[in-house]
Amino acid sequence: MTLLSRFRDLEPAAQHAYVSLMMAVIGRGLVAASQTDDETRRELAAFTPGMVIAMKVIPSGPSFALVLQPDGTLKLLPSFDGRATLAVVFKHLAHAFLVFSFQESTTRAFANDRLYIDGDISHSIRLVRCLNRMEALILPQAIAAKAVKRYPAIAASDKVRAGARIYGRLALNFVNGDRP
């Protein structure tokens, strides 16, 4: 069994740990992108301040929740337990693992009923564009191309510059314990 196939068939506990880590990275990555990337900020400008965006695995798997602040940036809500304005809900841990291990794109997972959207569908389209944008900026093209339907045309210099800003802010967010 190759290393890759072993990874693709991880035990549930290991999948849980991996998905939890990826949720933490994606949640904080979105926060960082909202602070540094103009295109992400343009997308978020269509949302109403106070709106809560969540991603979770039911019934009680890994999750994160973000709130849109009046200045247009996102902030993590570490212990959110209410009903989000917009929630991306994975039906099973294994489905979230498929997506976060880049075996299935977000769009394909949606088409395959691995997840459902609870909230305004047009908001979810914007959120997916934000996710795609962030993944395209921070991931190597070979991996990001598996996560998105069409890899966007981003100049290499822009990718390095914007990616570095997001990584920097991401690291700060981890170090600072998600303080605003």
């Binding site: 769009t107 949606f110 959207i117 997916v128 966007p152």
Partner: protein, 401 residues
């Protein structure tokens, strides 16, 4: 086609054909119901269609508890609440929706409120608590749908879209429990549709089927329904325009609409719907007109990634002779050519517009706004080819004419 994974679900009993309405009393009885409320609109009443239903229920042991005929063209929360109140006042135990998309969506909303899932048990009356996806947790009251158009397919879908007039937004409700118990397709119910509406609603169903077949969640079962629907519309739409009262032709179109509805509710739709929803909201053009406008242009846009799938539609659309005589590599473009030919015929016979310009409802300067807004519409996610703003502008420019 083969798929590594898919889901398919349609628990709606289809009762189709001559004297189908007369099966309603027995079917209601099977579910323990004997006092349905009829939900409809003024147009259905004016066309005399309700008389067929009333006659079918007469002397059957089923008493019509109430008739609510105040459903507007766009369903609203206020309408749902008013209809639910009428249902409770009359002591009804089932809902019989007789009409088109708005009536059917309203009936699904009413069913939430009059069932235990709604305010009867909980004393709240807040339909919005159930907005969004999968917030209903148990079956609702018996709901039968008698479509009076052959286009929406709402009689077999799990979605209801209801306007919140105070906030000015359309609220989606999604749950498998919203699906009707039965769809009753009786040719008498569509025989009075004029040629223009017949063509428009048929092209709505044609779009459902073609997008169902070409979008990302297509699967072997939805494919079967989609291709059969296309074949039925292709074979029967023009003959029905020649003979609007044809029972067989009307039944074929009604079945095609239901089959296309089953297909798209299991495989979703794409850019035609995203653009069509947006144009409809900007101009109030009927949904079927908007579908007819964008269908060939979106198929053209999707050709680079879905040429084979679009090419396979040539068989149900144009028949075996044209399919067999067209080289495989040209079938995708030939499908679009045949579709354009059908649209030209419909335009010549009943003035169904083929381009945005022909509708006379939108200024060319609004095309960019149309493209921008359509990018946020849900079906964008399921289109086989990603589209950004410049792609969308390209499509609407071509659809301008």
């Amino acid at each position: 086609m083969s798929r590594d994974f898919y889901e398919f679900f349609c628990p709606v009993k289809v009762i189709a054909g001559e004297r189908a309405l007369e099966h309603i009393p027995f079917e209601l009885g099977l579910l323990g119901a004997a006092r349905p409320m009829i939900l409809t609109d003024k147009g259905v009443i004016a066309a005399g269609l309700l008389a067929h239903v009333q006659k079918a229920l007469a002397s059957s042991g089923v008493a019509i508890g109430a008739v609510f005929d105040e459903v507007p063209q766009d369903s609203s929360l206020a309408t749902v609440r008013a209809a639910a109140a009428r249902y409770r006042e009359a002591g009804c135990d089932a809902i019989l929706a007789v009409g088109g998309g708005s009536v059917i969506d309203t009936s699904k909303g009413v069913n939430i409120l009059v069932s235990d899932a709604g305010d009867v048990a909980e004393g709240g009356g807040d339909l919005l608590r159930y907005a969004g996806a999968h917030h209903l947790k148990k079956p609702l009251r018996p709901l039968f749908v008698v479509p009076t158009t052959a286009g929406t397919g709402s009689e077999v879908t799990l979605v209801a879209i209801i306007s919140d007039e105070t906030r000015g937004v359309k609220v989606p409700f999604t749950s498998t429990f919203l699906m009707p118990n039965a769809a009753v397709l009786d040719p008498r119910m569509t025989q009075t549709l004029p040629a223009h509406l017949t063509a428009m609603t048929a092209m709505d169903a044609m779009t459902h089927a073609m997008e169902a077949y070409t979008c990302l969640a297509a699967n072997p079962l939805s494919d079967a329904y989609a291709t059969s629907a296309i074949q039925k519309i292709s074979n029967h739409l023009l003959p029905v325009l020649d003979d609007l009262k044809s029972p067989l032709g009307r039944l074929e179109l009604a079945q095609a609409s239901t089959m296309a509805g089953i297909a798209f509710s299991n495989s979703m739709v794409g850019l035609v719907h995203a653009l069509g929803h947006t144009l409809g909201s900007m101009t109030h053009l009927p949904h079927g007109v908007c579908m007819n406008l964008f269908l060939p242009y979106v198929l053209e846009y999707n050709l680079p990634v879905a040429s084979d799938r679009i090419g396979e539609l040539l068989l149900p659309l144009a028949g075996p002779d044209i399919y067999a005589s067209t080289p495989k590599g040209r079938r995708g473009t030939e499908t679009i050519t045949q579709l354009r030919r059908l649209r030209d015929t419909l335009n010549a016979r009943c003035k169904l517009p083929r381009t945005i310009q022909e509708t006379g409802k939108l200024d060319r300067s609004a095309l960019r706004t149309l493209a921008e807004r359509a990018l946020d519409d849900g079906p964008v996610a399921f289109n086989p080819r990603e589209a950004d703003l410049s792609d969308m502008i390209g499509i609407v420019e071509r659809a301008w004419g």
